[in-house]
């Protein structure tokens, strides 16, 4: 009789652990999804800004065709990228292309003085700050989620329950290491 009780107790404990692990993985996966949605919002916002910027620069420097094309292509690549890793790479290329565009703009004092251009530039840099922020959050959630499904004992269940490793959004310069800060004095 005692053996039966012990068996029941073990089963109950196992079930509790199972439920707890499952709920944790679901919660972390939801965080990853939210994090990705945040990045997506900001990437779209930037992609909406770019045509205006290109048009404005064109108005002053119509012959810099190669630069415009590079930006337009990179923009399309970001919009069409499949998955965070690819989107991250496309994003890095777009950032580089935009950098060249603004380098070109440097040579046109009238353009640089244009109120419209300045405003667009400010909006773009604000959006880029937000992309960087959203990326920090997203990558942190991916790290937590991946750790949660790759560590014992969750690793035994994760595959069975359909939890698979998620991709990082490729990190830009100076954004690679997350600091590990302990708050215990």
């Amino acid at each position: 009789m005692t053996a039966v009780y012990i068996l029941i107790a073990i089963v109950v404990v196992l079930l509790v652990v199972l439920v707890w692990l499952y709920n944790r993985m679901v919660r972390l996966r939801n965080e990853v999804d939210t994090g990705w949605a945040n990045i997506d919002v900001q990437l779209k916002r930037r992609n909406d800004l770019i045509p205006n910027i290109v048009e404005t620069v064109k108005g002053y420097a119509a012959h810099e065709r190669g630069t415009f094309e590079a930006v337009t292509e990179a923009r399309a690549a970001v919009a069409g990228a499949q998955g965070p890793a690819a989107a991250g790479e496309a994003d890095n290329l777009l950032t580089a292309a935009l950098g060249k565009l603004f380098a070109v703009a440097e040579a046109y004092p009238d353009l640089k003085a244009s109120e419209n251009f300045l405003q667009l530039q400010n909006e773009l840099s604000a959006t880029e700050d937000k992309i960087a922020a959203a990326r920090r959050y997203y990558n942190a959630t991916v790290l937590r989620f991946n750790n949660s499904i790759q560590t014992f004992p969750a690793v035994l269940l994760a595959g069975m329950l359909g939890f698979t490793k998620r991709e990082f959004f490729a990190a830009g310069e100076g954004d690679r290491a997350l600091p590990e800060v302990s708050f215990q004095p």
């Binding site: 965080e31 939210t34 994090g35 945040n38 900001q42 604000a126 700050d129 937000k130 960087a132 922020a133 959203a134 920090r136 959050y137 942190a140 959630t141 954004d175 997350l178 600091p179 590990e180 800060v181 302990s182 708050f183 215990q184 004095p185």
Partner: protein
């Protein structure tokens, strides 16, 4: 301790604060009964209960009133709003909290509100003048962390409930002083016992209030610092901000023991006399040097002892405040 654990702990502590408030109201009701009879006791209980419910619902607005904070629009402070937007995104918040300002030259900041959606972040005009953008970002990240970690509800409730306990016990004290002699009936030993009990309650009330404040773990500040460093990916920026607060010895004006625990650094550092004694005994904040030390160790840097003047944040002119 993970974020989830901290959130759970905060929920538990919130229940403790509410229970402590309930007990205090009952104790004060008992004291009022002893002083003024049955009617007064019931009155105190009812007023206490009504106030408790009101304060629970309106706690955010009450703290703004208590501290003299008023809201600022995005149009007025686009730059600071941009900082809090990015910090909130990096923290994974659904939306950025609104900014409030306290017109005070002393640099300080805090967050308040009962729910994350209704929380707001308060900065003094002094902190905008004193800090660089990078430092301000660290401070805002610290406050946003308090909101995300659910420290803010606990801190806000502690403020409004502590505030009223101090107020009520003060009121009772005055009634005892002026009206105690006119108590009718119950002469003899029993009456005196009630009177002594009443006095003890009145003396204990503020102390109990401070104990409620103590329910707030000092660890919350370390955790908010750590979260902020992760959010901004820049522990040095926050450490610089804390060093600046450490070096600045101005104190914010509109502070009571009810609201002291809210701020990023203790606003009662320069307290003298009995206030200093209380501030020392019931310190709500770990020392800034210790917090800077933790950040230095985590980030692998060392701050200089003195800092150059900052203040590259665009400040609106006085009339806009």
């Amino acid at each position: 301790m993970t974020l989830q654990q901290q959130i759970r702990a905060n929920r538990f502590r919130t229940v403790l604060v509410l229970a402590a408030f309930g007990l205090l109201i009952i104790a004060l009701g008992g004291a009022a009964y002893a002083l003024g009879g049955y009617g007064l006791g019931v009155l105190v209980l009812i007023v206490g209960a009504v106030y408790g419910v009101f304060a629970y619902i309106q706690s955010g607005a009450m703290v703004a009133k208590l501290t003299g904070a008023h809201p600022v629009t995005r149009e007025e402070w686009p730059e600071v709003y941009h900082l809090i937007d990015t910090v909130s995104i990096a923290a994974g918040m659904e939306s950025a909290p609104p900014l409030y300002v306290v017109d005070d030259p002393a640099p300080n900041a805090f967050a308040a509100g009962r729910t994350p959606a209704k929380s707001y972040v308060v900065v003094t005009t002094g902190i905008l003048k004193a800090m660089s953008k990078r430092e301000l970002e660290g401070v805002l990240a610290h406050e946003v962390s308090h909101i995300r970690n659910r420290d803010v509800r606990l801190m806000t409730l502690a403020a409004v409930l502590v505030g009223v306990v101090a107020l009520v016990s003060d009121l009772l004290g005055r009634m005892l002083y002026f009206g105690g002699g006119r108590r009718r009936g119950n002469d003899g030993g029993a009456g005196w016992i009630f009177l002594v009990l009443a006095i003890v309650t009145i003396l204990l009330a503020p102390l109990a209030a401070v104990m409620v404040q103590m329910a707030l773990s000092r660890r919350r500040e370390y955790l908010a610092d750590a979260s902020a460093a992760e959010i901004t990916n820049d522990p040095e920026g926050l450490a610089l901000a804390l060093r600046r607060l450490e070096l600045d010895d101005r104190e914010i004006q509109n502070v009571t023991s009810a609201t002291a625990h809210l701020y990023i650094e203790t606003p009662l550092r320069n307290a003298t006399g009995p206030a200093k004694l209380v501030a020392g005994l019931f310190n709500t904040h770990p020392p800034l040097a210790a917090r800077i030390g933790v950040l230095e160790e985590a980030g692998g840097f060392r701050l200089p002892d003195t800092l150059p003047t900052a203040g590259d944040v665009e400040m609106p002119t006085g009339s806009e405040l």
